[in-house]
Symmetry: C2
Subunit: 328 residues, 2 copies
Amino acid sequence: MANKFDVLGIGNAIVDILIHVDDDFLASENLTKGSMTLVSEQEAASLYNKLGQCIECSGGSAANTIAGLASLGSNTSYIGKIKDDQLGTVFRHDIKSLGSDFNTTPSTEGPATAHCLVLVTPDAERTMCTYLGACVNLTTSDIDKGVTGNADIIYLEGYLWDPEPAKDAFRKAIQIAHAVGNKVALSLSDPFCVDRHHAEFIKLVENDIDILFANEDEIKMLYGTDDVNEAALRVQKYCEIAAITCGAKGCIVVNGAEIGHVQGRNVEKLVDTTGAGDLFAAGFLRGLTTGKSIGECGAIGNLIAGEVITHLGARPDIDLKQFVNENV
Amino acid sequence: MANKFDVLGIGNAIVDILIHVDDDFLASENLTKGSMTLVSEQEAASLYNKLGQCIECSGGSAANTIAGLASLGSNTSYIGKIKDDQLGTVFRHDIKSLGSDFNTTPSTEGPATAHCLVLVTPDAERTMCTYLGACVNLTTSDIDKGVTGNADIIYLEGYLWDPEPAKDAFRKAIQIAHAVGNKVALSLSDPFCVDRHHAEFIKLVENDIDILFANEDEIKMLYGTDDVNEAALRVQKYCEIAAITCGAKGCIVVNGAEIGHVQGRNVEKLVDTTGAGDLFAAGFLRGLTTGKSIGECGAIGNLIAGEVITHLGARPDIDLKQFVNENV
């Protein structure tokens, strides 16, 4: 029997607070450009006080991917922990408004809904400081068996390895999916995240993951190599499918039979790279769940990633289904 | 002795929730394009549930003007009521981050910080539904005499006439300002707002207001005429200065000696007219408080309004001081 959902995403439910800053600001705050740093509530407040006027927009890595898939016309569900507060209301509204299922019970006490300060520099690169807030309360009890066992692919973000209780939720979801023969996809999220959980990630990727998403830096960090082709050869041994994004150059797609390169698209107006990897994964998974070859999947991923970087924020700004119909 | 502040703004403290919609959506919701409708918490929630993914950005009419003035380099203060909740934190952060003073005590119980659903149609017109929330708790006790009596100009929004207790706060602020010989400016805000409070607004404008801001529709509604020039002649009898915005055509500027027209600027990329009137007022008041002629004030107003309509949201997206230096 067919599953109810094409893809279920599980991740940290976060509202982004976005602002343009210059490079000097990153330097003065000792922030590494392009990275995601975990910060305490106090550190987040202190940094926020130094920022000018921001805009707020729902984010969260896997949630961005699910938003993209929903906009592409896929049947999606999402599991992530918000609190029953105003930012939680914003997060829930936004993901459901695109048609995605989202029924994780919000926490009623403890930390507020998570937020991420997204600092966008003039080169359109984003540097993120995340206060995990309510995300630390995601536990195995949030992994609904009926939903988790009912998706062709479950998609997990590496960031979910940061809040300790979420690891068990992560493992439970993998067990449920594999027990019914469904696929498990993982995004490595961030080279620093890979570095933080290096041994566990190696074990995870090589034992439990069917479909791997990574960018060049992340996969090089995972395998301790400077050669992305070497990393691709290694991942080919363990994962059924892998996609390695290489920025403007496009992506490397991997399955048991081949390792190919899919050329990137020219983007005229690069504004903000936030969500590029997340929306690449949305496009790739849309291809995969509609029977496309991995080369075609990579091309749709490149196309969708190319849309999200033309505007501020990590969620699609247009109807992606129509966008793909017009451009593929 | 010189006043501490160039301009003090008093208004409804609101966070905007912005989204693109089509004309059919406005029709299906019986919303009049270009208007501001007051809605209950339940009506706001019901409408929000019908909207797709939004972005959030601080708003509020007088607050937008103060944000613009702060970005232009003026010394500003703001009085408006938020609650001590997440949207309140966003509002406070944003206005203070631009350098404005803002010390109104947030409410700790009662309705949440106000929000406004801003529906932007393809013609870039905005239609607004406002839930006043905590704004209904602004009272005379929030009108700090030390601040209110210490600004060359106090700037009031007509919308402040909607929450009942704010009317007394409004009147108290006028008394304090006039007692020390400072000027009182008013924006008529919205033709429907003028219609709601017609008799009171006539009395207010003709007895208490030194500087009036209105658009064509608002001033025509105020004076029950179809002829904007007739309205200009009438307002000239009562207000020291008036500025009537006429959309892309520019503005009509009025003082005791003259009634002039200042040509609008061509705007290449019209995206969202939210805040056009508010930012016009910011530019005009910047001119006025730096000794410019009313024609020059109108030109700066047109320039600043022309910036805010090139992007989503009613707050300046760039450093307006630098923008004016480069364009005047």
